[in-house]
Symmetry: C2
Subunit: 209 residues, 2 copies
């Protein structure tokens, strides 16, 4: 729910000088008491102001936050993304697993000679390979990685909702955040279900839950 | 924002018979036009009603949904949890990995003889072991699992916010949902960051984003 200019002014007055009566507020705004009556009713009903008989209006402490809808649409991939961890196509599966532990990530992105996205390696891919193969040091990751065009990705300016939908639809735990270049896709970030969980909590915090 | 009884009545009238003028609504409620003026202002400002000059009020289609706060607090672990996958303490690491792929989960819960929670196995634990050990068929999971009391868990009636906070604080991807019994903790569910992502999307859907 958005407040209009007069309601915002009233809220400011009450914040600074409350408790204050409706008459006093009207006087400060050089308006009639009857004029601001609907505004006071709206501010009280919406929970921004409390009213006590013979005391006046005072500020409830509730901030005129954005609506959830606005809040969620405003959440962009770029604001929640993590740093991507990339490895070269010719790195061994063994080294990729070590890299995954060193960086403590669940997904590695694989890049080609021109540093463009060519594959994705999940913990699941690496675990599957590690129990099926003995010579992990000799097997290059490009043999087992998920390749383009089967990689689902997103862009910084996408909404988190959009990224979350993609992960759920494809049943994957993370997406590379990319920028399209003439030579291919440059990896600039990583969005995971951990980022979505952080966003979920930040929605809760915004509403002081 | 919660509507009072009169506002709910007005909303119902406009839903059924809109477009309808303020005078007509007042007549239906046997009230003066002036009495319902603040209610109409609130309903219009909050976006439930639209008003068109010389036509009257009509229903905008927006439902008086719960506030986000109420919506998020109402989300309980029990409403979003997945089915837990459990293995016995003496199962081999190799069999546990196979079970993880078969069930397509990221975490296995380990139970003792009396079917109570004794450990947790993540994909990360299994991957670490699989590259460090050759005889995965001979190594029982109880050697490598995270043990009680180092297991973070939650209950059905906990809020999802609470569960999400625990996962973020402990940097883990899932929690067992348990019931306390005299013999120990019975595992009845599994909460993951995928469940939180689903909840995030359901919030978005509720608000038609």
């Amino acid at each position: 729910m958005e407040l209009n200019k007069r309601q915002t002014e009233i809220l400011e007055i009450v914040k600074l000088d409350g408790p204050i009566t409706g008459e006093q507020i009207a006087e400060r705004l050089k308006l009639a008491r009857a004029t601001i009556r609907p505004d006071l009713a709206i501010l009280t009903m919406a929970g921004f102001l409390d009213a006590r008989p013979r005391v006046g209006y005072f500020y409830s402490g509730k901030k005129p936050t954005q609506s959830v809808s606005d809040g969620m649409i405003g959440m962009k991939v770029g604001d929640f993304q993590s740093i991507p961890v990339v490895v070269n196509e010719n790195v061994s599966v063994y080294d990729a697993i070590c890299q995954m532990f060193l960086e403590d990530v669940g997904t590695l992105f694989v890049v080609d000679k021109s540093s463009c996205l060519s594959g994705v390696l999940s913990r699941k891919d690496l675990l599957r390979t590690s129990i099926g193969t003995t010579e992990l040091e000799k097997l290059p990751v490009h043999v087992i990685m998920t390749r383009m065009p089967n990689i689902t990705y997103c862009k910084k300016q996408d909404t988190l909702i959009h990224a979350a939908k993609k992960m759920m639809d494809k049943q994957i735990d993370s997406l590379p955040v990319i920028v399209e270049k003439s030579k291919g896709l440059e990896v600039v970030g990583r969005i995971t279900k951990t980022n979505i969980t952080a966003a979920f909590l930040s929605l809760a915090e915004e509403h002081e839950l």
